[in-house]
């Protein structure tokens, strides 16, 4: 069996499963956020009754992160709906925006969008927060009401996005009926060259198989090239499996996975035991390819879909109005460090926005010093508009007052993950997806630029 099949078989209490088979699996974690949480809770109450209790309090994780720093009253209300439910059910893992469990969330627009407006429990973007807060464990099943839940496949687990109705079902029963996906095999060899990042790997893969090339399939990444990647890099790759239609992505378990997961579970007091899955000689794949990481070059996915692959060096004629750094995919500490390496001591010439994915990343950037200057200040000095309000922000457009949202038809290069029409705001705007390094180099020139020209 493949890694994905092994996890599903275990969760279904079966000795083995085959691709195409429908099986009932037990969930280890159900994650939801402010956009789909209220609807999921609505389905749960409608179907199981107003006084029903969730199947397991410790297995539900609620992370408001999408529409937080906006004066839109409906968005603020949705965070309050989550808080009420958490109180009623006594849920231990709720990463509220405010500290007062009896309070109401109201964003204060008069303070501006840059200064932090959250309390001590706030965790930021769900997919980045889940591992940081010790909720991702090898061998487990994670369901989330968000398509990029597949990011947690970096930790050798089965993680996939589901809708509110399915999530309401899981909330009440702890189970879900799934079709076992076929597995596509990506063997990675070699190591990335300077200026080339994990984002380039996945943009390359999606370009290879097409925007729907993995529909209802698992993407397994392994081989020495995969081992060479950091956990942040593996997360970037796994995150965008959905951009090729994939059901999940999965990496092997190794010492890096173990070190990360053990440390995070211990630090947060979450469950520490887990059982990884390992490869065996009987894996059946529907597709196999080998990618030599040392041959990859800075890659761009062009408007209007993530499968339109080009190399950054082929696109000097694409003029830009804006650059955006952030999201679960491109807003991690390592992403910002790479971004800052290129911008250090220089000035961006187009509007450039930086939104760290989580408060922890904000702290990392503010406390990491390069020659006595914090990385945060290096970016601000380079002209980047940096916000402390870690969230999804303009990655998915959001309410009109969202930081970095495109309210007019602009062209933007972005470290995010999706570029269908209207994704980051205005429906006639255009989004080009690239690595943090390519976003940085392009912000310096105002057109799409290969970052290898700017390696110091």
């Amino acid at each position: 069996m493949t890694l994905t099949e092994k996890i599903l078989a275990r969760a279904a209490d079966k000795p083995n499963v085959q691709a195409g088979e429908n099986v009932w699996v037990k969930a280890d974690i159900l994650m939801t956020h402010d956009v789909c949480g209220p609807g999921t809770i609505g389905v749960f109450k409608r179907e199981f009754g107003a006084t029903a209790k969730v199947w397991d309090r410790k297995k539900i994780v609620i992370i408001p992160d999408h529409y937080i720093f906006t004066a839109d009253s409906m968005s603020n209300r949705n965070v309050d709906i989550l808080r009420e439910f958490v109180k009623e059910q006594g849920l231990p893992y709720f990463y509220d925006v405010i500290d007062d469990p009896d309070g109401k969330w109201v964003f204060d627009a008069t303070q501006g969008l840059l200064k932090k407006q959250y309390g001590a429990n706030f965790a930021g973007v769900c997919h980045t927060a889940l591992p940081q807060k010790g909720h991702t464990r090898p061998g487990e099943i994670l369901f989330g009401t968000d398509s990029h839940t597949c990011m947690a496949g970096a930790f050798n687990q089965f993680a996939t996005g589901i809708g509110n109705t399915d999530a309401g079902f899981v909330m009440g029963t702890g189970r879900l009926l799934l079709k076992v996906p076929e597995t596509m095999h990506f063997r990675l060899e070699g190591e990335l060259r300077p200026g080339v990042m994990a984002k380039d790997i996945i943009l390359h893969c999606i370009g290879e198989i097409g925007f729907d090339g993995a529909t209802y399939r698992a993407l397994q990444f392994d081989g020495p090239g995969a081992t060479s990647l950091s956990m942040d890099d593996r997360m970037t790759v796994a995150n965008m499996a959905i951009e090729a239609g994939g059901k999940n992505a999965i990496f092997e378990f190794d010492a890096k996975t173990q070190a990360f997961v053990d440390q995070r579970c211990r630090a947060n007091g979450t469950k520490e035991n887990y059982e990884p899955v390992e490869r065996d000689s009987e894996e059946r794949f529907v597709y196999e390819t080998t990618i030599d990481l040392s041959r990859l070059e800075p890659t761009v996915a062009c408007h209007p879909d993530p499968g339109r692959r080009k190399l950054a060096k082929e696109m000097p004629d694409t003029k830009l109005d804006r650059a955006y750094m952030g999201s679960c995919t491109g807003g991690k500490t390592s992403d910002f460090l790479e971004f800052a390496r290129i911008l250090r001591g220089k000035k961006v010439i187009i509007d450039t926005f930086g939104v760290p994915a989580t408060p922890e990343i904000v702290r990392d950037l503010q406390t990491t010093l390069w020659d006595d200057t914090s990385v945060w200040d290096i970016l601000v000095n380079a002209g980047v508009k940096m916000t402390e309000n870690a969230s999804c922000s303009a990655c998915l457009g959001g309410p009109v007052d969202t930081f970095g949202r495109m309210n007019t038809p602009l062209k933007c290069i972005s470290a995010t993950n999706r570029n269908f029409p209207g994704r980051m705001g205005h429906k006639e705007s255009q989004v080009f997806l690239a690595s943090p390094a390519t976003v940085a180099a392009s912000a310096l020139t105002g057109h799409i630029t290969d970052p290898r020209d700017y390696l110091g």
Binding site: V35, G42, M74, G163, N164, T165, K247
Partner: protein, 182 residues
């Protein structure tokens, strides 16, 4: 159960993602709250660029669409896992989406909510049909008839998905089938 659907069709091309079906700023509406469910319908498909789709799916000021059937190309419903997408279409009055292929979460959400019958066609219908023309869809016979020409196209049987949508979604189906207590 109704098995023949008849009316004007709304035709779109490949890769219609969930942001075009229901743009992100309307996701603050919670589908299980009745008024907000209604409102979601009024915004259905409003993320389609006007330059490519001059005919609006829902006229401004209306809560519902005049198109009970949508025809798309490849990868319909790709993008996010938002259940607001099939719900917005269902709330606007659409019952059937026919496409060459569907993104898996959209497909599943259409079925789980019972809002839509997602039918996979084999021909490139989004080139053969035009927005506004009348078609009939027979989900027993798996056929689509173009009223103007009498031409008949087929689609793949709905299989195990059909009874779930017929029942009105996952929960009703699971209760009927005795999978969860009634």
């Amino acid at each position: 159960m109704q098995s023949v659907f008849h009316g004007p069709v709304y035709v779109v091309k490949d890769n219609i993602d969930t942001d075009q079906i229901i743009p992100a700023q309307y996701l603050t509406l919670v589908p299980t709250i009745a008024d907000e469910y209604e409102k979601l319908g009024s915004y259905a498909m409003c993320g389609l660029p006007d330059s490519l789709y001059p005919t609006r799916f829902v006229e401004s000021g209306q809560l519902d669409s005049r198109f009970p059937i949508i025809v798309g190309g490849r990868n319909f419903g790709c993008g996010s896992s938002r259940e607001h997408a099939p719900i917005a279409l269902g709330s606007a009055g659409t019952r059937i989406v026919i496409a060459e292929s569907f993104a898996r979460i959209f497909f599943r959400n259409s079925v789980a909510t019972g809002e839509l019958y997602p039918c996979e066609c084999t021909d490139r219908l989004c080139e053969a049909l035009e927005t506004g023309e009348t078609i009939s869809v027979d989900i027993d016979a798996c056929t689509i008839t173009q009223a103007g020409t009498g031409k008949v196209f087929s689609f793949k049987p709905l299989g195990e998905v059909r009874p779930v949508v017929d029942a009105g979604g996952l929960f009703n189906f699971a209760r009927k089938a005795g999978m969860i207590p009634a």
